[in-house]
């Protein structure tokens, strides 16, 4: 993620051209962390920090999953499409992490959050950390997420929080393309050959129990919803069901009858898959602390 250091590459705030050196323990901690030589960080999760971090983690983890397809997709065009969608998501994650860093004001940057937190500190949805599986599973996972992200980011453009609204204004257009692309694929796979239909149906069944978490809001988030900083995810569940139901029907697939849903990602209780993912994502910084390229 590390790009060129700029004065305020983040969301709307300029950092001074030269930062005054800090003395004492705090200065040493910041220097160590800035060079990524510290092992793991603990984030001061105020409600707004936690809220932004959760969305950033969704985007980073799903973006990373898609990057695993790079060079392996069934065809070149799809390889580029999955990489492009992954790039959009990682871009959204960068904007959100940069905002988290500004909110924390602890001298951290986007890289600290991506590389220096362990799995229980990650706040992403369980859905996005699920392994790629076959192409059908990757597409269905993306479709379930995008069918939520699209109305979610559109609604967030009206957030009272100006930075989140600005990030949403970019993300909502990208989500529309992601939703369109994955919808078309779900229909093509479901209403395709016997083989593709069976695989798409299996993917829908395997991932269904991770979709309930999309609409959860804990006490912290309910406060932010009251302040109109956040959107009530439950209010999007109807739009999601209509989009997903419509596409699944057209794809000649069946939505599972079960309403039992998995939960835990938002509070750091993850499936074992996340640890494996992070071991790849964080490998370089964990193995060669402070490595630069």
């Amino acid at each position: 993620m590390r790009g060129r250091r700029l004065c305020g590459k983040g969301a709307g705030h300029a950092r001074p051209c030269a930062q005054a050196p800090l003395g004492g323990q705090e200065g040493a901690r910041r220097a160590k962390e800035a060079s990524l030589t510290t092992t793991s960080i603990t984030v001061a999760e105020t409600p707004i920090v936690l809220y932004a971090l959760r969305r950033a983690d969704d985007a980073l983890i799903l973006g990373h999953r898609l990057s695993e397809w790079c060079g392996h997709a069934p065809m070149l065009e799809e390889d580029m499409a999955l990489s492009n969608i992954g790039l959009d998501l990682i871009g959204q994650a960068r904007l959100l992490y940069t905002y988290v860093a500004e909110l924390e004001g602890a001298g951290r940057d986007e890289d600290s959050y991506a590389y220096l937190r362990d799995a229980p500190q990650y706040r992403n949805l369980l859905l996005v950390e699920q392994p790629n599986g076959d192409f059908a599973k990757t597409i269905v996972r993306q479709f379930f997420y995008s069918a939520f992200a699209d109305p979610y980011w559109r609604a967030m453009t009206a957030s009272e929080n100006a930075t989140l609204a600005a990030i949403a204004a970019k993300a909502e257009k990208e989500s529309a393309y992601h939703l369109r692309h994955t919808s078309e694929w779900v229909i093509r796979l479901g209403d395709g050959t016997q083989e593709s239909h069976a695989r798409a149906q299996t993917a829908v069944e395997e991932l269904w129990s991770f979709t309930g978490e999309l609409f959860e809001a804990d006490a912290t988030e309910r406060e932010l919803i009251k302040e109109r900083v956040a959107v009530d995810p439950a209010s999007l569940s109807r739009a999601w069901s209509e989009t997903v139901g419509g596409v699944i029907r057209e794809a000649t697939l069946q939505a599972p009858a079960s309403t039992w849903m998995q939960t835990g990602g938002r509070s750091g209780r993850h499936s074992e898959h996340l640890g494996h993912l992070l071991s790849a994502l964080q490998y370089l910084q964990r193995t060669y602390p402070g490595a630069k390229w």
């Binding site: 790009g3 060129r4 700029l6 004065c7 305020g8 590459k9 983040g10 969301a11 709307g12 300029a14 051209c17 973006g63 065009e77 799809e78 580029m80 499409a81 990489s83 492009n84 969608i85 992954g86 790039l87 959009d88 998501l89 990682i90 871009g91 959204q92 960068r94 904007l95 559109r154 100006a162 930075t163 609204a165 600005a166 990030i167 204004a169 970019k170 993300a171 909502e172 257009k173 990208e174 529309a176 393309y177 939703l179 369109r180 692309h181 919808s183």
Partner: protein, 174 residues
């Protein structure tokens, strides 16, 4: 790239310095579409001078566009070449960039470069599940079809013309 004599910028007043910095920054081109300047694209939002330090404000196109880091670097290099060393590049997200900001000149340059320009006023949302008609930038034919929704960069889709048989990039609405 502008290469004014380096020492001159230091003697300029704030307004002259601002104008010079704007002219220099406005000539920086998109590394992925080198016929377009960041001014054509609408990425360059402003240039200010504060306490002798030039602050160039840009806005990202797509969240994940890797060209943004490159553009910021190019701006710093261009300013430095023009003798402006006290400078920084700031990124703002609001108002969100849209392809509608692409200048008419920019649209023409894109077409000449072989990229079909974005349809003015067309957001991704309205086109959801809709059918687009994109004219071939080479022969102008409307007999075109989409090969891939996502093209060589985040901002482009890959199309092919049925009349001249040439594939071409389409700059997606955003």
């Amino acid at each position: 790239m502008v290469t004014s004599p380096a020492p001159s910028a230091g003697r300029l007043g704030p307004e002259e310095l601002r104008q010079l910095a704007w002219r220099v920054a406005a000539q920086v081109v998109d590394p992925e579409i080198p016929v377009l300047t960041i001014a054509d694209l609408g990425v360059l939002r402003g240039v200010d001078v504060k306490d002798g330090c030039v602050e160039v404000t840009i806005t990202p196109t797509y969240s994940g566009c890797p060209a943004m880091n490159m553009i910021a670097l190019e701006i710093e290099v261009a300013l430095r070449s023009a003798g402006i060393t006290a400078a920084c590049v700031r990124t703002v997200l609001s108002p969100a960039w849209t392809t509608d900001w692409l200048t008419e000149d920019g649209q023409r340059k894109l077409r000449e470069y072989g990229i079909a320009p974005p349809k003015p006023g067309g957001s991704g949302r309205r086109l959801l599940f809709g059918h687009e008609t994109i004219a071939c930038p080479r022969c102008g034919s409307d007999d075109t079809h989409l090969l891939s929704e996502f093209g060589s960069t985040a901002c482009k889709a890959l199309w092919r013309c049925g009349a001249c048989q040439e594939p071409f990039d389409y700059f997606k609405c955003h």
